[in-house]
Amino acid sequence: MRTDSKSWRDPVLVATVAPLAIVMLAFFVIPLVMTAVLSFQTTQFYRLTWTWDLKVWTEVFSKPHYWTIMARTVAMALVCVVICLLIAFPAAYALATRLRAYNAQIQILIIFAFLTDAVLKTFGWILVLDKSGVANWLLAHLGLGPEALNLLFTPTGTMIGMVYGLVVYPLFTIYLSLARIDRDLVLAAYDSGASRLRAFFEVTLPLSRPGLYCGAVLVFVLSLGAFLEPKVLGGGTAPLASELIRQSFETRVNWPLGAALTLVLIAIGALSLALGAAVLMRGNSGRAAR
């Protein structure tokens, strides 16, 4: 392996890394820097004025309204993570253990779930959650009274949409880590005297942690940026961070404010992940050596 500090002089290495580096620079690093720069400017009469000013940041930190929305976004993301894992784990477990023979087909079906357009999936829920939708029709016919459910344009509706859209991520990551567990390890636990439940908690669950963590991170990050669901299914009654940012840019035409709020959301996401990682690392510090 090439580890010497002059590897940047290697023309082959430079040539192979350059395309990715340029793309990352152009579409990730530069926009991020531009966003940061933008947040220190101000607007006057819907026009961006090039000043270096902390005005926008003062506004961000002095208005509790923004922080309520940020807190709601994080709370929704955390609830979404918990619900997604609770749904995905048993499903992935069943797929990985009971339906092992259909491994290839299952992976293809999960990938199909990824490929289905999010807009389509979200609007589909309107038909279900609407007052005259399928869910209410069904509940009414079950004798629960008309309009037993009033979910459309509520935070619960948003959550249903988010969970529905994101649950495939942990399903896939947990499925992959469960499918990788050697069956002999579970047999070894039984052989050592473990009940099925005990073997699950001693062997299967700890060994599926990579998939659980990976799925949780994906759901968390994607929920922080959830845009479609709160708009279509939440109806704007309880806006989340992405809607706030959209309004700042589009409705209020206050780009510096939008940029600042974007940075706040990114910071919250990064800090939450760092905190989560730190907690997990402390839990299994001995394993870091591997």
Binding site: D182, D184, L185, L187, A188, A189, Y190, D191, S192, G193, A194, S195, R198, E202, V203, P206, L207, G286, R287, A289, R290
Partner: protein
């Protein structure tokens, strides 16, 4: 055939049948294993030896037949409740647990107190010659041989009545394998636990086991002591399983317990084979004399009384150190005759030499396919 065991059986398996769908993996296998006995299940892959071991362990249920361990019917008794412990082929050490937690896992499940657990783990370490500093390491940080010892320690710590070993010694390093075999034999002698070893290596089975159960296609072909298997093999399958050997086709006329044999190959006289040298499973078809490579010599002068002599040409020879192996092509035989001579500085014959080779049919063993 000596199949009797000296003390009361700890495992009594009778008529074990195992079907996987329409495929029958075991065709009514019966096997008794004595307390403290070391039994090896030997056979080529797919012979059902591993299936039988899994049934003993409780990982699989037999389709029919009964299994008793320590006088108790094992029908519906899960692996966790059986007095057996398994060492897996790929060891199946828990990768997320330290060596100490791996070895102590069965005790943790039994809720053994911490002090006693530490003391028993420490005693196990001594028994397995494992270093104390390994306790806090993870299995992936140990060498293959050390991992095998940890797997043995985990299986033995709860003092099982029967230890099941599923080819755990398939080490790539021949020297390591030899030392593990020696250690396993010593361990068995010290502990007095019954060992059931599954292996495809009959030589390993002969080295280690008190009795060997040779299996083929889901059936027991022969059950006996290593010397039974070597000197009195039931048929050509068993005889051919242990290293290289020669089969000389002969015509048989039964004569009391013994038999009179003639070979169409040479002008030798008919030879009388005593009853003790005839396989009890002798059939009528494809009868042959089992002639071990070490019992054949080059005949330079006159033949000894009763000796059969064949003529051929040397095809190849291999100097193995303590012995020299010759392969002699004899017209009329499909395969070259293999003979092992005591090693010496001077070679008695070279490639392409015409030679006469001799052996005593009366000291050979008569069997059929």
């Amino acid at each position: 055939m000596t199949t009797a065991i000296t003390n009361t059986p700890i495992i009594k398996a009778s008529g074990i049948v195992k079907d996987y769908g329409s495929m029958r993996a075991l065709h009514g296998v019966s096997l008794d294993i004595g307390a403290g006995e070391f039994v090896a299940l030997v056979g080529p892959s797919g012979c059902g030896k591993t299936t039988l071991l899994k049934i003993l362990a409780g990982f699989e249920d037999q389709t029919s037949g009964t299994l008793e361990i320590q006088g108790q019917d094992m029908q519906g008794v899960p692996a966790a409740k059986r007095p057996t412990r398994m060492v897996f082929q790929k060891l199946a050490l828990f990768p997320h647990k330290t060596v100490s937690d791996n070895i102590g896992f069965p005790l943790k499940l039994q809720k053994v107190a911490k002090a006693e657990m530490d003391q028993r783990i420490s005693a196990m370490l001594d028994l397995m010659h494992l270093k104390r500093e390994y306790l806090t390491r993870y299995p992936a940080q140990l060498s293959g041989g050390e991992q095998q010892r940890v797997a043995l320690a985990r299986a033995l710590i709860s003092k099982p009545s029967v230890l099941l070993l599923d080819e755990p010694m398939s080490a790539p390093d021949a020297k390591l394998k030899k030392s593990l075999q020696a250690e396993l034999k010593k361990l068995h002698r010290e502990l007095g636990t019954s060992f059931v070893l599954v292996t495809h290596d009959l030589e390993e089975a002969m080295m280690l086991a008190d009795r060997i159960c040779v299996m083929r296609a889901g059936e027991v072909v022969q059950l006996g002591t290593p010397s039974d298997i070597y000197y009195r093999p039931a048929n050509m399958f068993v005889a051919g399983f242990i290293g290289e050997t020669n089969f000389l086709p002969v015509s048989v006329t039964r004569d009391g317990g013994g038999a009179r044999v003639t070979s169409p190959l040479s002008g030798n006289d008919a030879a009388m084979i005593a009853g003790g040298q005839v396989s009890p499973f002798l059939g009528n078809d494809k009868t042959a004399l089992l002639v071990r490579p070490e019992t054949i010599r080059f005949v330079t002068g006159a033949a000894e009384p009763g000796e059969w002599v064949l003529s051929g040409t040397v095809e190849e020879y291999f100097i193995k150190g303590s012995s020299t192996q010759y392969r002699v092509r004899v017209p009329g035989l499909d395969k070259a005759v293999v003979m092992d001579l005591a090693g010496s500085l001077d070679l008695p014959a070279k490639v392409s030499d015409s030679v006469r080779i001799g052996f005593h049919p009366a000291r050979s063993f008569l069997l059929s396919e």
